[in-house]
Amino acid sequence: MNVNILSAGFVTSVQDLGRTGFRQSGISIGGALDSHAMRVANALVGNEDSAAGLEATLGNLRLRFDDQRVVAWCGGAFTVRIGDGNLPSGHAGLIAKDEELVMTAPKTGSRAWLAISGGIDVPPILGSRSTDLRGNFGGHEGRALRDGDQMPLGAKERRFETALLIGRRSQTAASWVSEWSAPAPWAATAHRDRFLRVVRGADWNRFTTEAQTSLFSAPFTVLSDSDRMGVRLDGPKLDRVDSADLLSEAVVPGTLQVPPSGKPILLLGDCQTIGGYPKIAHVITVDLSIAAQLWPGDLVRFHEVSLAEAQNLLREREEDFARFRIGIDLHLE
């Protein structure tokens, strides 16, 4: 049973939680730029966290399935329609064989993650089904999807379909939409006021006091040459107090590095594994969901938190996620 891509939209690719264990070979983690959104969407349709789904950029996506499936999505302010009905973000919806799913362009934000019960069953490469768009491997033929592509789907968890068929349905939305749903902040991640919380980077002290101050006081504008590797930002020039050449060392998604131009680059999931630019700060893991929605022209501000706070937020989210999964199970009984 396949998913048929009638219209592939701007950039749509197969993604999962990414490729772990190959940084030593220079392979980036990749995967869904908002891996939490992908996990949440997977949980809503009864998939394992690591199932592969679709990452859509700017929508304009149309899909059809060879058999009945349950679908769910999280991300920017998109509209997703199945037939004549609306599928709100963070809810599961039943889609019949040959019925069409349409995702329109977003009002705010830029990306969405769509999970399909059973997951997209492309062959795993180095332990992951995610598409490495720079390396041209993984996902569907190592590339972004095109109109007319077909991909196999995995075996689905029937309890979710059954629950929707016997009436575990939303009171407010279309009749095929689930009564179970994800917390709103997980389901809809595009915000008008874009604040990213950061912790200081190892090279914080290589920057001038002015640079340190302006990082937290001035807004930065997302530039057009941003992509899945990194968000290029324009704003006050972040000057260094020294000019020493640094040896390349590990970088991670969230790293805010500053090349000699003084214009910072916020690294995202497809970033290189090592880098030699000084790291002034790091966006905390829980805020990568907001970072993944940034689009050229957006304004973004940074706000400092402590390392302990960043880690607590992440741990709390993990605990909430475990409870969320249990909560969904209760709806299926």
Partner: protein, 234 residues
Amino acid sequence: MQIDPLGDSALIVRVVDDFARDPDASVNAVLAALRALEEAAIPGVTELAPAYSTVGVFFDPARVATPGADPTAWLRTRIESALEVRSVESEGDLEAPLIEIPVCYDREFAPDLDDVARVAGLADSEVIHRHSNAAYRVNCVGFIAGFPFLSGLPPELATPRRAAPRKEVPAGSVGIGGAQTGIYPRSSPGGWNLIGRTPLCLFDVRREPPTILQAGDRVRFRQISREEFESARK
């Protein structure tokens, strides 16, 4: 040894203070630290990544330490004790495989050979001779998947990167960037000075590990003719 946070889910262990003073010994020390951390198998650590003088330690803050404990502090202690054990053992002879990379220095593959020769004040043939007779070491693999950064370039061959990077460097190209030499595993943009090409496929996701060269490996280049290059590609 210093351990710095790298965001909320990783640390950088600074194993060596001055890499350039003795690159070979530095690579040995970093590799020994890498092995020690692998053996320590610290719970919650998901990945380790060596590069020059450091080892990146990636972890899941929700899985390291006990609830309530500071994951960074807990991890620091575990890393320090893993590396103390290492210093007790002999750091001396670290076995690193020697890998030979055949390189064809044919004109067509070496558009920047003249530039390198001019900077060095040597004849083209002498640049090739010196490049293919030096002993190299992989300092790290990165930048793009499978790209090995090699130390050991004869200092006179050091050449600054090109002012304007090429939009496309063919796969297998051997280049010089500053004091380092390296090999483009696949066609990609790049700013290094190209002086030859290997017929070997350095990076293949169907292999595990997907790269021929790993950090710490010793490397030699062997000059091959155009005929050998073409037949090796078949």
